[in-house]
């Protein structure tokens, strides 16, 4: 079609579906939905070409609320379904919506494999550190000793860190965002969209019903600046309400050390500059606990490599080209295949 460009640009609202949004009042999911719709408008997404695939959970209801193609599938399996869809049609814009339970409990294996294969998609993991839809059991990201209906005396599992896990799986794009930090979230979503391959975004999402305020130490206005560092590529790793805190390298320990510029003779140029292509730095940033060190958000790691569908498609081209160079005639269909090899006439 030649008139594509002439079509009026879609707004965020044009991506809203007719379905009533049914999350609890105050749920962080609303903010994420808002940011995604805005991003779709800004990147000029085509509705018919955009697909949201989700598993099961509060978060996984997401596809019902956007006006594109969608598949609200089964618990934990969205990455596998999305991989199949991308193999069928590599031109789709694929978004995967998952939760901390959906993506890291039942779906951990598929998440690992879509990341290592680098299938072109954006994976939004809504981390509320709880199973929302099933009414509040602790999840694989819940703090140690979380009390919940299935752990009335406190949970005993050491939580997994989603970003660290993604890095361990060989992810090429790893980011962290906060539901309410719309500007940063929007920027991350755009960067993820631009990244070819699997982009993994952990979004800290508040569940006011079952796990209210679990992230507030680093997301509330009052403490945010001092307990969260928003990293940006090629910018110094500084933070703090007066922006005078920063991270320096603690070389002998292969570690990051939080410091205050001006104190103990720390100079601004000692502060590390964020390099989103450095996986070790990403690993260190992801590990900062939020207790003695700030929680890092933003794009921790972003290294481009060809996506899975790309190499799949490329291989087919190569095979076809090679087949054409062979002395035997190239096969144009299954009928030719059937007639190759040892045959005989009766």
């Amino acid at each position: 079609m030649t008139d594509t460009l002439a079509a009026p640009a879609l707004t965020a609202n044009d991506f809203a579906s007719e379905n009533e949004v049914r999350w609890c009042p105050g749920c962080g999911d609303y903010a994420i939905l808002k940011a995604v719709k805005k991003t779709l408008a800004e990147i000029g997404a085509a509705r018919e070409n955009t697909v949201f695939v989700s598993g099961i959970g509060c978060s996984s209801r997401f596809p019902h609320y956007v006006n594109t193609y969608g598949f609200h599938s089964i618990h934990g399996r969205a990455p596998a379904i999305a991989t199949g869809a991308m193999l069928a049609n590599p031109d789709l814009d694929m978004w995967i919506i998952t939760g901390d339970g959906d993506g890291l409990s039942i779906g951990g294996n598929h998440l690992m494999h879509i990341l290592r294969r680098n299938v072109n998609c954006q994976i939004l993991l809504f981390n509320n550190e709880i199973y929302g839809l099933t009414k509040g059991q602790y999840s694989p990201t819940s703090h140690f000793a979380t009390r919940s209906p299935s752990s009335p005396s406190g949970s005993l599992d050491t939580p997994i860190d989603p970003a660290l896990f993604a890095l361990g799986c060989g992810a090429r794009f790893v980011a962290r965002a906060v539901d309410t930090q719309q500007k940063q979230l929007g920027e991350i979503l755009k960067a993820a969209y631009e990244h070819s391959g699997a982009s993994f975004i952990e979004i800290y999402q508040n569940c006011p019903v079952f796990n209210d305020g679990v992230f507030s130490p680093f997301t509330e206005k009052a403490s945010r600046d001092d307990f969260q560092i928003q990293v940006e590529h090629k910018k110094p790793l500084t933070y703090g309400s007066e922006n005078n805190k920063g991270l320096i390298s603690n070389q002998s320990q292969f570690d990051l050390k939080p410091v205050t510029i001006g104190q103990d003779g720390i100079k601004p140029e000692q502060i590390i500059t964020h390099d989103q292509t450095n996986r070790t730095l990403a690993f260190l940033l992801a590990q900062m606990s939020g207790r003695d060190t700030p929680t890092a958000t933003g794009v921790l790691y972003n290294a481009s490599e060809p996506s899975y569908e790309h190499v799949v498609t490329e291989q087919v081209s190569k095979i076809t080209a090679r087949a054409k160079q062979r002395p035997e005639p190239a096969r144009s269909g299954i009928n030719d295949v059937l007639r190759q090899g040892f045959n005989w006439e009766v």
């Binding site: 018919e48 598949f71 199949g84 193999l87 294996n109 095979i319 295949v337």
Partner: protein, 638 residues
């Protein structure tokens, strides 16, 4: 007893205990013969077998073969569990089974003799490589004294010769290492078999020359061994009363043939189906014995646009297939019982969202890991009833290697025309066995899945075709038709999440009616052999087709009123099935399970049923079926 010695190298013994079969003056004609070749995994048994098959095919004999691999990947040399075997039944009439019992056993080492001799019919011929009967090997096989030196072989005819030594001699000129030279001994044995049954060597020459196009001396060595084995047969003829046998060509329809395994035809049938409906084939699978060869076969078809995906597990494979269908491809997944178990939740999702999908189960012996290399038909329940909720879906079964091609196309057609997952049952026997196939022409098959016209204004995701009750297959990329699918219950028109009781009842009913309605597109059931009325109808499905068919032929030749009714469609049944079965006094249902189809037919209200169950990992023998029939006939004719 006659003993003829020839150059001290071979001894032909004809035991007087069994009637002498051999004719000095000329080849003895045989209608069919069953040959079993056995040796160490490293002995090239499977290659030998497939060459023998090819040579037979080229000479116009019909045949059926089955490779019998060890379950270990490569067990230590000389052990019983490292024995690999290949059985072939060939002859001058149509061949339907691999034969109840071998007539000829080629044992390339003591372990092969140990594990295979019991199968041989009394009076059969054993060919032995004495060079491999070293005391170490004899011990490894678990013999206390050499079976050549006690009564072990008394009931059989025997050709024993030092094949190893003679092979070394035959290839001496070529300059291969001793080890490589010895690896030709299977072709020496093959040459002897060729002589024995008057098979031509040309196809094997050709195959060797192609296979070892770059290693010409390997090709030449094998050819030399083949010729030497054949020459040895000729000397046998000259020096003994063994003149060999002759096997005529079978009556076969005219056309172009090739040898195929069920794994190949299943793969090709799926690729053909994708062509017939103009869709990309996305085949997603996770390796498992004995299902993997389908993946291997399809992985070689990338130049045709076939996409194969080796997933991280069976769940992912099923999901990827469903995701592919969601995005507009023909999504197919494949596994064996334990893997299918893992796919059921996804298959139930496919039932719920009503997307096409084909699931191929190459069955093996269960429960649990069971006996992966042995065959069984025990996943019928799993296919028909193995999901949670009311989630009916069509189940089809292939009956033979060649049949897989048509079944794959039929399953894909139903999946797309009815927007439903379809389970296809094959088994390890069908997948690995081979037989000649009159090569199909894809253009002879009706195209499908092209009728759908979508009017955007009138589109709703769960509006249905008035006749098939199928919804429309609208896929991402189509403008203006955006919608969301999901596994929660859906409004019967809009597809929106719906908890309304009447709607759920309606959707449950529609899903059931849609699948039940598929029986309309199934051709009426007719006896595969025999009349539409009689004493006994043997109702079978899947790979028992061959033995049942042969048994019915034999029984009918004896004048018995027995018919063979074969079911391809196991769910739903053909509309006239009941009517047809009403015309028989007894329905006999032989199955390689504890009676699963039997139960399903019982549940239709039928009373005059009898099962014949075998769960040993082995196919039926023809005579087991004949015996069951005779017993019934005795009773009802009392």
């Amino acid at each position: 007893m006659t003993i003829v010695k020839n150059d001290d190298k071979i001894i032909l013994i004809i035991k007087t205990k069994v009637p002498a079969l051999l004719d000095k003056t000329k080849r003895q004609p045989l209608e069919t013969v069953v040959v079993r070749i056995a040796g160490d995994s490293g002995d090239g048994i499977q290659v030998t077998g497939s060459q023998l098959s090819l040579a037979n095919a080229m000479q116009g004999s019909d045949l059926a073969t089955f490779p019998d691999y060890p379950s270990e990947v490569r067990a230590p040399v000389g052990t019983t569990y490292g024995v690999s075997a290949f059985q072939i039944h060939f002859g001058g009439r149509d061949i339907k089974t691999i034969g109840d019992e071998p007539d000829v056993l080629i044992a390339l080492n003591p372990a092969a003799l140990k594990t295979n001799l019991e199968r041989l019919r009394t009076g059969g011929l054993v060919i032995i490589d004495t060079g491999a009967f070293t005391s170490r090997n004899i011990e490894k096989a678990g013999y206390e004294i050499s079976p050549l030196e006690d009564k072990t072989l008394d009931a059989y005819k025997l050709i024993k010769t030092d094949i190893s030594k003679q092979t070394l001699a035959a290839v001496a000129d070529i300059g291969l290492s001793r080890k490589d030279s010895l690896r030709c001994k299977n072709f020496y044995a093959l040459g002897l078999v060729y002589w024995l049954f008057d098979r031509q060597r040309e196809s094997t020459y050709a195959w060797l020359q192609k296979k070892f196009a770059v290693h010409k001396n390997v090709a030449n060595a094998n050819i030399a061994a083949l010729d030497a084995g054949h020459a040895f047969g000729e000397t046998l003829e000259a020096s003994s009363d063994l003149a060999g046998y002759s096997i005529g060509p079978a009556q076969m329809e005219n056309g172009l043939y090739r040898l195929v395994t069920g794994a190949q035809t299943m793969a090709w049938g799926l690729a053909a189906a994708a062509e017939l409906c103009d869709r990309k084939l996305v085949f997603a699978s996770y390796p498992i014995t004995p299902a993997t060869p389908i993946l291997h076969e399809l992985a070689t078809l990338k130049d045709l646009g076939v996409v194969t995906f080796q997933a991280e597990d069976e769940i992912a494979a099923a999901c990827a297939a469903l995701g592919a269908s969601f995005a507009g491809a023909l999504g197919v997944t494949s596994s064996s019982g334990p893997g299918i178990a893992l796919k059921q939740e996804t298959i139930s999702l496919a039932v719920s969202v009503e997307l096409p999908m084909v699931i191929v189960n190459t069955q093996r012996a269960g429960p649990s890991t069971g006996m992966p290399t042995k065959t069984e038909q025990s996943d019928l329940y799993q296919a028909a009833f193995g999901r949670h909720g009311e989630s009916p879906l069509p189940v089809l079964a292939a009956r033979s290697p060649a049949d897989c091609f048509d079944v794959a196309i039929e399953a894909s057609r139903i999946a797309i025309e009815y927007m439903t997952p379809v389970i296809v049952l094959s088994d390890g026997f069908i997948g690995n066995a081979s037989e000649p196939w009159l090569i199909a022409d894809v253009n002879d098959y009706p195209r499908f899945g092209h009728e759908q016209i979508i009017i955007p204004e009138a589109f709703a995701p769960f509006k249905r075709h008035p006749k098939t009750l199928a919804r429309q297959w609208v896929t991402p990329g189509m403008e203006g038709l955006e919608h969301v699918l999901g596994g929660l219950e859906k409004d019967h028109v809009t597809g929106a999440i719906a908890y309304d009781p009447e709607n759920h009842q309606k959707m449950t009913d529609i899903r059931a009616q849609k699948i039940a309605g598929i029986s309309r597109t199934i051709p009426d059931l007719e006896p595969d052999q025999g009349d539409t009325t009689g004493d006994i109808a043997i109702v079978g499905w899947g790979s028992t087709y061959g033995p049942i068919s042969r048994a019915v032929t034999n029984l009918r030749n004896d004048g018995k009123a027995v018919s063979h009714v074969h079911l391809r469609h196991l769910f739903p049944f053909a509309d006239n099935q009941d009517e047809l079965l009403d015309n028989f006094r007894i329905i006999l249902v032989p199955e390689l399970n504890a009676g699963q189809l039997l139960m399903m037919i019982k549940a239709t209200g039928r009373q005059n049923l009898q099962g014949l169950s075998k769960v040993s990992g082995q196919p039926f023998m023809v005579r087991e079926i004949e015996a069951a029939v005779d017993k019934i006939l005795e009773k009802i004719n009392d």
